[in-house]
């Protein structure tokens, strides 16, 4: 283990983390999005997952003197949400000194390769090709937006979804590890069905409790792709809306305490409102809330500049 540590600190840029430029989050994650592991972003629609991915793609393409990875980015865009205009806007607003020159913008944007696989089999093929380009050492970040969309179109009869992505998950993880790049995957949410309990046989629940729980379940969202996927990711960042305020929570991470940071989406990407996260105890860190989310969206043009 010591040799691992030394290897990372000496060889890797920034000791193996990609800084997100959100100070509180970077501190919580010991420097940023770690290399070599799978980081998942999960949240309801419209909360800012794609915005986060755009910002990260930009950061990875920046030269090292500005805190980037100076590399190429593979962006797998399943839902056709990638907007290059928005990408340039984020770049111009966050790093005005770099993007003033037109060639810089072109070069940065030229480093982000967007793939749009239309089906799972195309995705599989692209993964193989990505492996080859990884070996050539140019790609420094892999973003998959979103993983859940790959499976939802495939099976109508609710066939075993857990195993569909099984091979892909192992492959992506091994890709991340041997090439030591950060991999960011976004995930969707679905509502929790009534007969899903989250208890073991030795936890006895009284009947009253189950009635209350049912009403709780109706407003509760859970991450898609099942519990197998939840085990497979190393870091899970939950984005949610609670009483009209967006939060980004570090829900599962071996290196950080469970913290929640309020944030807003601005023209320069994502801005944390507070760098000291709120520490959440208990399983609440994993819960995905969607209260007051509509207000944020409807406010629309006024609060988002």
């Amino acid at each position: 283990a010591l040799s691992l540590m030394e290897l990372r600190v000496q060889n890797e840029h920034l000791a193996g983390h990609l800084p997100t430029h959100m100070k509180g989050l970077d501190e919580a994650l010991c420097g940023g999005i770690p290399f070599g592991v799978l980081t998942e972003l999960v949240g309801p629609a419209g909360i800012g997952k794609t915005q986060f991915c755009l910002k990260l793609s930009l950061l990875a393409s920046l030269p090292a003197i500005y805190g980037g990875l100076d590399g190429h980015v593979m962006y797998i865009d399943v839902e056709s949400k990638f907007s290059s205009r928005r990408l340039i806007e984020i770049g111009v607003k966050s790093f005005p000194e770099i993007f003033q020159r037109k060639e810089m913008a072109q070069e940065m944007a030229g480093r982000i390769h967007v793939l749009r696989p239309a089906s799972l089999s195309e995705f599989t093929e692209s993964l193989q090709q990505i492996k080859v380009s990884l070996l050539q050492n140019q790609v420094k970040l892999l973003v998959i937006d979103s993983m859940a969309a790959l499976v939802t179109g495939e099976f109508e009869h609710g066939a075993p979804r857990q195993n569909t992505l099984g091979w892909h998950v192992s492959f992506i993880k091994s890709l991340a590890e041997f090439s030591r790049i950060p991999v960011v995957v976004t995930n969707q949410v679905r509502s929790q069905s009534r007969d899903e309990t989250c208890h073991y046989f030795f936890q006895v629940q009284s009947w009253n409790e189950t009635i209350e729980d049912r009403t709780r379940h109706d407003s509760h969202l859970v991450a898609a792709l099942g519990i197998n996927w939840a085990h497979a990711v190393t870091i899970r960042l939950v984005l949610e809306a609670k009483s009209g305020q967006r939060f980004i929570k570090v829900a599962k991470s071996p290196i950080s305490p469970p913290l929640a940071f309020p944030f807003n989406i601005t023209s320069s990407g994502i801005l944390l409102l507070s760098d000291d996260g709120i520490e959440l105890t208990g399983p609440d860190i994993n819960a995905i809330h969607c209260q007051g989310h509509n207000d944020i969206i409807n406010f629309g043009g006024e609060s988002l500049q």
Partner: protein
């Protein structure tokens, strides 16, 4: 029966008497390696002495009535052996209490739970706690960490190692003020050095590695714990032939149990959860199926109870079913904040 009457060489006899063994019964319950260490002779010589001694015993007609079957041990001998090996503490007093002092050597313990409950944290904590020196009540051994999912983060291990050293020097300061001899010379880098980290990327690699561990541990005799995190990951992805899976898993389980027994080390397997349809509702159970649940000696399930993390002893031949709260802090696994007790290291 007197040692003097044993048909062994004069030098061996004098060594036995010098070490304090005057009768057969005084050393017949020891393991050959223990005897070898005491007399400073080779393992083979010690085994030879033991064999001659037990032969002598049988002729005598004294205790040990039924002739010893090769490899069998009496229950009394096993009790002595168990008491010789201290348990590996989890750094959480409540958890240690329900485990009877900690994780037991020579046994396979399975620990399972939902994602984010702290399985990897517990694994890293144990890999560090096994290195606590004997003076402080630990085993002073090394650890093997087999990582199948890539969740071992070196930064976190360093953090926990530093916290462990802090705790030890605190305790050292309190209890051994005049003991200049046991100066704490441990550095977090030393601790990291003693964790042998293996990364496996497929189930074939996993099985191959476990087969190789036999050789590895005979070369590194001070390994005292093997942690597999997690044992399920590669067996849950795209495995079509369930019968093959069951065969592979039981083969692996047998190998691990043999490792634990032969080298007197603890084996800790971290498992994931899955939902199962029982009695009309879905319940959470540990993954890998029913046949796997027989393969381990002890089973601990980590779960959420309200806002606290709890551990529950699900299956154990010697411990009763109990739950204990614990928490995951920046220093590693500790007692939950609601019960404020000092952690006892000795």
């Amino acid at each position: 029966m007197e040692v003097g009457r044993l048909p062994i060489s004069a030098s061996q006899r004098s060594k036995l008497i010098a070490a304090g063994y005057t009768t057969l019964s005084s050393f017949s319950s020891l393991s050959p390696s223990h005897l070898a260490r005491d007399l400073k002779i080779s393992d083979n010589e010690a085994a030879e002495i033991m064999r001659v001694a037990s032969h002598g015993h049988r002729l005598d007609g004294s205790a040990g009535g039924c002739g010893t079957v090769n490899g069998a041990q009496t229950a009394w001998d096993m009790l002595h052996e168990e008491e010789m090996f201290p348990r590996i503490t989890t750094s959480c007093e409540d958890l240690d209490n329900i485990l009877g002092g900690g994780i037991n050597c020579k046994e396979v313990t399975e620990i399972g739970g939902v994602p984010g409950i702290g399985k990897t944290q517990l694994g890293i904590q144990l890999a560090i706690n096994v290195q606590i020196p004997v003076d402080y009540g630990g085993l002073g051994g090394k650890a093997i960490y087999i990582d199948t999912e890539g969740s071992f983060m070196v930064e976190r291990a360093l953090q926990i190692a530093e916290a462990c050293i802090e705790d030890m020097s605190e305790c050292g300061g309190l209890l051994r003020k005049d003991f200049q001899a046991c100066q704490l010379k441990m550095h977090p880098n030393n601790i990291l050095e003693n964790i042998f980290y293996f990364r496996v990327c497929s189930y074939t690699e996993q099985i191959a590695l476990i087969n190789y561990l036999d050789k590895f541990i005979s070369e590194h005799k001070d390994v005292k714990i093997v942690i597999v995190d997690s044992v399920t990951f590669h067996f849950r992805q795209d495995f079509d032939d369930m019968a093959l899976r069951t065969r592979l898993l039981s083969g692996m389980a047998l190998k691990l149990m043999k490792l634990a027994k032969d080298f007197s080390l603890a084996v800790v397997l971290l498992n994931q959860v899955t939902t199962k349809y029982i009695d009309g509702s879905f319940q959470l159970t540990l993954a890998l199926g029913d046949s796997w649940s027989h393969s381990c000696t002890n089973r601990v399930i980590l779960y959420w109870n309200g806002n606290e993390r709890y551990a529950y002893i699900d299956k154990s031949p010697s411990l009763r079913s109990a739950s204990a709260p614990y928490s995951v802090t920046s220093k590693g696994i500790r007692n939950s904040a609601s019960n404020c007790k000092r952690i006892k290291m000795m």
